[in-house]
Amino acid sequence: MTGEMIAFFILALAAIAGGVLMINLSNVVHMVVALVFTFLAIAGIYITLSAEFVAAVQVLIYSGAITIIMLFGIMLTRHERDTASKMPRMTVLLSGAGVALFFLIMFFGINRLSLGSPAADLHIENTKKIGVELYSKYIIPFELTSVLLLVALVGAIVLAKRDEEKEAEK
């Protein structure tokens, strides 16, 4: 058993445990914290695949920014602290069957899948390579994404402004 395997198993277990906890916990804030651990474990898996740039971005965007926005949303809105509900038996059985079917399909699919031999030099200067690819091959989608984000930003400001004006009228 190599160190890489050990690292992979620990990280994979942490990711799965975080996901399972996220579904099973009853407190919303606890769920988000479980989700943080899943995100961090996935970032760790990226590192074992020597994609450190993607790992850093994963930590920065998902465990940093998105989690905090979710926490903000939860804390600022009124909500029931515990959201436990009972499901009818039929639903449980049906979803169990669905999960089993999905597992079987994925299991056989992955077993049959062959990705060819992996490229050996992907880890060398991969940050630079990502930059070059983004700004040469994928320049139009990249710029379009930035326009989309800008529109979202402006939209958010407009929505927030409208609320303020309404309150002022009152």
Partner: protein, 334 residues
């Protein structure tokens, strides 16, 4: 020796050696924190025309912090009855661990570094973001309105100031063409980046003070409004962990500023006979002193001024800095 360790194939012995070195670094950082707190109190004291700590440990109060830490460790550890217990316990850990993790990326001298990451700078920024989650969690788990307000303020402030902080560094990345902190220092062989992008340095320094939650940006723990902010309900060693986080980040941020803008371990011309690590320590101490100086000089900002300052002043200036840096690079560094 460390360069050799970093480039040879990994094994269990490497893991053991790095574990030992990491423990050494932790001890050094704890020593720094002990005396940084003393230095802060002394400097603030001198600025306000009073002697500062001068009883425990001789004339200069050299053992004052040691006594304070001892007091903290033997204090009763209280957890409020209605607090969210697991999160209350997890929060100080989640806040402190990243503070120490970021130190792994920083090269202290040519031979003394713990990693040679190609994304060192990005690593620092990404990992330091996790602390915000810890602080927000502490604020929420305490089940106290003051700590919740403090935690919210802290998260809002850290997110807002992270943006100018990152954008102001882009100038440096443009000059060096790398995110590797060692390469960034090596790029400053002739001239430090503080002279090439002074605008970037100013924005970076201001945002780093805000990231550290220090005066004039210490709204998350504004004593006059929020008692103590997100750690109102903490006591004993859990509280000590938050204090430790703050000062370890001071260490890390001062080290990062030294590496990015002051040329790390590179000497001033004609003084190359002094070893690199001493140069690093000198530049580092200057930054720490500036931080303490500013704390003793500036009043606290108001919450609305704080956000406006980040978005309306620092962000445009940081964007301008990218443009100016690109022009400087094209004109002078080709």
């Amino acid at each position: 020796m460390m360069n050799h360790l970093l480039s040879s194939p990994p094994g269990w012995i490497h893991a053991a050696i790095f574990f030992g070195l990491g423990a050494c670094l932790l001890v050094i950082v704890l020593g720094f924190v002990t005396y940084a707190i003393l230095a802060e109190r002394k400097v603030l004291g001198f600025m306000q025309l009073r002697p500062g700590p001068n009883r425990v440990g001789g004339r200069f109060g050299l053992l004052q912090t040691v006594a304070d830490v001892l007091k903290l460790l033997i204090k009763e550890d209280t957890i409020p009855k209605l607090a969210d217990k697991p999160l209350f316990i997890l929060a100080p850990v989640l806040a402190f661990a990243p503070a120490f993790m970021v130190l792994a990326a920083i090269p202290f001298s040519e031979h003394l570094k713990f990693s040679d990451l190609s994304i060192g700078l990005l690593y620092y920024i990404a990992i330091s973001g996790i602390t915000t989650v810890g602080i927000l969690m502490a604020g929420w788990a305490s089940n106290n309105k003051y700590s919740l307000l403090g935690g919210m303020r802290s998260a809002a402030q850290m997110i807002s100031y992270e943006i100018p902080l990152v954008i102001s560094v882009i100038g440096v990345i443009l000059f060096s063409g790398s995110l590797n902190l060692t390469d960034i220092v090596n790029g400053q062989e002739k001239v430090a980046y503080i002279f090439l992008s002074p605008l970037g340095f100013i924005v970076f320094f201001i945002s780093s003070i805000a990231e550290l939650n220090r005066t004039p940006f210490d709204l998350p723990e504004a004593e006059s409004e929020l008692v103590a902010g997100y750690h109102v309900e903490y006591s004993g060693f859990r509280w000590a962990f938050f204090m430790l986080t703050e000062y370890v980040y001071l260490f890390a941020m001062a080290a990062l500023t030294t590496v990015l803008f002051l040329g790390g371990w590179k000497p001033i011309p004609f003084l190359g006979f002094i070893p690199g690590i001493i140069w690093f320590a000198l530049k580092f101490s200057v930054i720490v002193f500036f931080m303490i100086w500013i704390r003793g000089t500036m009043p606290r900002l108001r919450a609305d001024q704080l956000m406006e300052f980040a978005w309306k002043v620092l962000l445009p200036v940081a964007l301008l800095n990218i443009f100016v840096s690109a022009v400087v690079k094209e004109l002078f560094l080709r």
